[in-house]
Amino acid sequence: MLMDSFDKFFFRIFPPPKFFSAPSFGLDISDESLKFIELIATKNGIRVGRHGERVIPPGVIESGKIKNSKKMEEILTLLRKEEGVRSVRVSLPEEQVYLFQLRLEKAGLKNVREGIELALEEHVPIKAEDAIFDYDLVKEDAQSIEVQVATITKNIIENYLLIFKHSDLEVKSCELEAQATCRAVVQAGDKGTYMVVDFGKKRTGIFIVSGGIVMFTSTLDLGGIMLTQAIQKSFNISFEEADKMKHEYGLQRNSANQEIFSILLNSVSVLRDEISKHFLYWNTHKDEEGKNNPLIQKIIFCGGDSNLIGLADYISVSMKIPVEMANVWVNIVNTGSYIPDMSFRQALAFSTALGLALGDQAN
């Protein structure tokens, strides 16, 4: 602890040269867009550098799989040229990554990696030689160790890396989207158990983080666009108008927007049901030893469409659990002394990219 504080103080006074530290951008790639952000370590703390969003045309990426490599290369090359991006930390979509917990007996265990490799095919439908995996240590006792393993097919990673190589971008890390999001929204060192809901445009990620490690992830094909489309269809208006109405009225229950409330409620209740299902599963599920999981203390909302008026209150009241909007700056800046040039809604949408960029500071 003391050494950590000393290290932080030392590197704040004597930051490593740019050439040596090679700062990287957080790059959050989804089916519809690519968000990038740079965090710069200065003497006054971390500051937000270049950031932005590029639209990815339909058909280039589908459910996390790159379908049109050439087009993706063009987008990344343009990003490098326009923004001066050199190295990046990339998120991998939940659909492509398998996450599971594994207990390894210490007796006869020479190498944790070998132990995981031997047990891999029992947990994921990928052959060990076709898989790329990494792990985090969850807990350890005299007899065994428990690890959280993330696995992905070699082809997908190689495909990603090849595209970045052709675009002259150095990839420093490929992380689980949930891991990056949780790094941004959960305070560093907080060992509590929380459910993080990343409510995006087309997809919603539900993650459970406990002891600082992502223990569970799930993705729903439900996002803010569906809510906008529901309003558009009901009122027979343009998409832009519907989006404006969605953000203006949200889930406020009053006479002025009774109709919008009813329309949005149909979609939001689906989200509530899914959250509730995972919430109950986690809180009632027992591990291999028959022990209960630590109870979820609160739900943290992030993602571009999570700032919908009344959404947090609705989930909180219906599930009887504290729900709060994420503070994506909690591990980055002290907002009392510095306000990043980014709106609250935009910051929520950048939570994964910020978490990825924080990887530089974590190392």
């Binding site: 790329i132 990673i157 190689e158 891991q179 190392n363």
Partner: protein, 180 residues
């Protein structure tokens, strides 16, 4: 932190890190050498100018005729030469005050007698004398000291002039001894 990058890529990144570290080390080393060279330049120029100046002075001095010695200098040289001769002759006669003689005097000296001077003298005929001056608290003590010296085998004769006994106490005496 879970990082799903293949092992080979991670190794490449580690190699890249060490390469950057090496390049940085070389860069810093070069910079240090440059700074050291620049900071030493004024001292180098200053010392090279001084060196040239001293060489020129030396060369000029070599070319200058030797100065003619004056009257006073010649006298001083003559005096020094005489003194050197004296010392050298003294060494030839081998009249070197013997520690044995001093020890013999000190052995016979009483505690209340204080010696203030010891002279060695060589006569023109080659006879050697030791003259001692000092103070004695009383006539009796002085007499005892003389008797003790007379008894010593180291001395041929001891001459204590009677005038030394004029004072009764705190006598300043003068003694002449001929070593054996």
């Amino acid at each position: 932190m879970i990082n799903l990058i293949p092992k080979e890529e991670k190794k490449k990144m580690t190699r890249g890190f060490y390469l950057r570290l090496f390049v940085l080390f070389i860069g810093v080393l070069n910079f240090c050498i440059l700074v050291a060279a620049i900071s030493l330049l004024p001292a180098y120029f200053s010392s090279s100018v001084n060196d040239t100046f001293v060489d020129t002075q030396l060369e000029n001095q070599k070319n200058e005729p030797l100065p003619v010695l004056g009257e006073q200098s010649l006298l001083a040289v003559k005096d020094i030469n005489n003194k050197i001769d004296l010392i050298e002759n003294a060494r030839k006669d081998k009249f070197i005050p013997s520690s044995q003689v001093i020890n013999a005097i000190l052995l016979e000296k009483r505690a209340d007698i204080k010696l203030t001077q010891i002279f060695y003298e060589q006569g023109p005929t080659g006879g050697r004398k030791i003259k001692i001056t000092g103070t004695a608290p009383s006539r009796e003590v002085l007499l005892l000291f003389r008797q003790a010296l007379e008894k010593s085998a180291s001395f041929k004769s001891v001459d204590l002039p009677i005038s030394n006994f004029v004072k009764g106490a705190d006598i300043q005496f003068y003694l002449s001894i001929v070593p054996a």
